[in-house]
């Protein structure tokens, strides 16, 4: 999972490697994903996310197409 200057740079990087473009997240989406995923990581009562919780997190960020399907 890498940072790029823009979606054009993502496309160029993928083309140079013969790879299809995966998912491109805006910085806001990436932050919301990271925040939802790791916000409680340092807490004593941290526990893993359930499948359902992860699906809800992805939905809340608008990550709902087939790329983000977990099952």
């Amino acid at each position: 999972m890498l940072f790029f200057r823009s979606e054009d740079h993502v496309r160029r990087w993928c083309e140079a490697r013969g790879r299809e473009v995966g998912a491109v997240l805006s910085l806001d989406q990436a932050w919301r994903l990271a925040d939802g995923w790791y916000r409680n990581k340092l807490r004593a009562d941290w526990r893993r996310h359930t499948l359902e919780e992860t699906e809800e997190l992805l939905r809340s960020i608008g990550l709902v197409d087939a790329f983000w399907a977990l099952r």
């Binding site: 999972m1 790029f4 200057r5 823009s6």
Partner: protein, 151 residues
């Protein structure tokens, strides 16, 4: 050692690992964790292996030391995170942002565009990210679910 006491030990070890990462920048070695917690290296190593099996941490392939205490990396990477006058390294773009979230701190991620290598800096202030950057995920979620969904 009973299953219950193993669970208690693993919780203690997990909290110690993350306390050390936050304070030192990198996770403790097996020997360091054993000394700090007053347990044997064998018990510390066994706990690391159980935490790795549970995908809480990732060990160096073929070794016993920590490679990743997600979202923190155990060695320098291209994702430098600064906050509260300290610095850490993220395992990837997602994890670098995750460090700032886990810390609950304003801070920055210093990295570079993976395509052109131009420097990139992302800041987070008051829970709001700023910077001219996007994030690319190459592999569909159902392929990485097994590996990282529980991190």
């Amino acid at each position: 050692m009973s299953a219950v006491s193993e669970a208690d030990l693993d919780r203690t070890v997990r909290l110690h690992v993350y306390e050390r990462v936050v304070s030192d920048g990198f996770p403790p070695t097996v020997a360091g964790a054993a000394r700090a917690l007053g347990i044997t290296e064998a018990d510390a190593e066994a706990s690391y292996r159980r935490l790795a099996a549970g995908k809480v941490i990732v060990l160096v392939p073929g070794g016993r030391e920590i490679l990743m205490a997600n979202p923190f990396a155990a060695r320098p990477t291209d994702f430098l995170v600064r906050a509260n006058g300290r610095q850490w390294y993220g395992n990837c773009a997602w994890d670098a942002l995750g460090i700032l979230s886990a810390l609950g701190a304003d801070g920055s991620v210093t990295t570079a565009c993976a395509d052109c290598a131009d420097p990139l800096e992302v800041t987070v202030r008051g829970g709001v990210p700023q910077g001219k950057a996007v994030l690319h995920i190459a592999v569909p979620a159902h392929h990485w679910w097994v590996d990282i969904v529980f991190t």
